[in-house]
């Protein structure tokens, strides 16, 4: 979804792009077990798995998603401006 918004990529191109950035296969990209572990490992947002006190969610996860995917996320950029980070 992020790639469709940011780079207007169609679904297959977007999946291939994300899979490559995450270092997973296309099959793994759609697999809940693989992706739960990958999201936890990379801090990409996993707020629905208990215990989640240490898991990233929301803005902290979006910072990492922006960097990992090499895209600009409007909410992250606005947060940086308001927090004096840029």
């Amino acid at each position: 979804m992020r790639l469709q918004l940011a780079k207007k990529m169609k679904i297959n191109e977007a999946k291939a792009y994300v899979a490559e950035k995450l270092g997973v296969s296309l099959e793994e990209l759609c697999d809940i077990v693989t992706m739960s572990e990958k999201r936890e490992e990379l801090g990409l947002g996993l707020a629905h798995v208990e215990p989640c006190a240490g898991a990233n969610a929301g803005m902290e996860a979006k910072f990492r998603i922006q960097e990992l995917l090499g895209i600009k996320i409007n909410s992250v950029e606005r947060f940086k401006e308001r927090a004096g980070l840029k």
Partner: protein
């Protein structure tokens, strides 16, 4: 002689119907032919037609896509449905988190219960506050969304004369002028709301049910998108349509030289691209008096023609009364899942 086997399916209004193989195949053929005739587009191939028959008749209440063909989802008034439609007293930022962490949505929009930009204009900063709260807590992309809804700009509630009153009186020029004036008001309102949403960092901006009031309504979305792309380049835009065919309530309006009245999805998407949107929400109407096989065959023919020429992602608006989904409030998963599978595997959509 034994009775022919009949398959469970539904009519476009959701009512149950049992059809033979011969009847289903005949309806699929008719649905394709209807789309070809109206849209002047290519029919589905023999293989696609056969696969569509398999999807319609495959066993199981619920069917799914072939692994690897999963797509993403966007919504209209998504975050508001839990409170406004279901009556659950939750705030919209909470609703957004429920969509993300409970329902598994890929994105959702924050939208006002009166889902149109004219109404939102007066409370835009307050709406932006809700979006800001949600953006801080959600990981998935969050849109702000509403409809252009050009009809709201007519008297007595709005500033311009009502073209639906003028037209039956034969006041054609006055009706056209009223629509042109309304376009300016609506574009201004949308851009104003967009500015508030961009200020809090909206991940996306949704122009939903575009063209609901005809060609002038569609023109609003295109013009507003063009301006927003220039002013807020980091806030992507999705334009979702109201119907398969742009009604010529004005009849002479053009965008970049292309007359808007009468455009079908495969031509609508090209204008949406020119305006600068990131995602196009395709719509094909459901005919309540026809069967699901007829409707979904027609839908897939239109949608395939659209995705074939689209250079941006296409999300099918698969809700009540559009894209093969029956026109009823409580949607039956049997035909909804079949419609989704057909849209993805035959229509080649990028999202729902």
């Amino acid at each position: 002689m034994s009775e022919q086997k009949k398959f469970f399916t539904r009519m476009g209004d959701g009512s149950i119907v049992h059809m033979t193989e011969e009847e289903i195949r005949a309806d699929i053929k008719e649905g394709i032919e209807d789309a070809v005739r109206r849209g002047k587009i290519d029919p589905l191939t023999a293989e696609e037609t056969e696969y569509l028959y398999e999807i319609v008749t495959m066993p199981g209440n619920f069917v799914g896509v072939t692994p690897g063909m999963e797509v993403v989802s966007s919504n209209d008034s998504g975050s508001d449905k839990i409170s406004t439609k279901c009556g659950i007293p939750t705030s919209r930022d909470t609703n957004a988190m429920i969509h993300e962490r409970v329902l598994g949505a890929d994105s959702v929009d924050i939208g006002y219960s009166d889902y149109n930009y004219k109404t939102v204009k007066g409370v835009a900063k307050r709406e932006a506050t809700i979006l800001k709260q949600a953006l801080g807590r959600c990981t998935m992309p969050l849109f702000y969304g509403a409809m252009p809804n050009l009809g709201f700009y007519t008297k007595p509630d709005g500033p311009v004369d009502n073209w639906a009153v003028l037209l039956p009186e034969g006041k054609i020029q006055e009706a056209m002028a009223a629509q042109e004036e309304a376009v300016d008001h609506a574009v201004r309102d949308i851009v104003y709301v967009a500015e508030q949403m961009n200020d809090v960092g909206a991940d996306g901006f949704m122009l939903d049910t575009s063209g609901a009031a005809g060609d002038a309504d569609f023109l609003v979305s295109l013009k507003a998108t063009e301006i927003m792309r220039e002013k807020f380049p980091d806030m992507p835009i999705e334009i979702g349509m109201a119907g398969e065919f742009v009604l010529g309530m004005h009849g002479k309006l053009k965008y970049n030289g292309q007359r808007l009245a009468g455009l079908y999805p495969h031509k609508q998407v090209k204008l949406v691209e020119e305006a600068g949107a990131s995602i196009f929400g395709v719509v094909v109407n459901t005919n309540c008096n026809k069967s699901f096989p007829w409707n979904i065959a027609r839908v897939c023919t239109f949608v395939k023609a659209c995705t074939a020429v689209a250079e941006i992602p296409v999300h099918a608006n698969a809700g009540m009364g559009v894209c093969g989904i029956p026109m009823c409030e409580n949607l039956p998963a049997d035909v909804v899942s079949r419609a989704d599978k057909a849209l993805i595997e035959i229509g080649k959509i990028d999202g729902l």
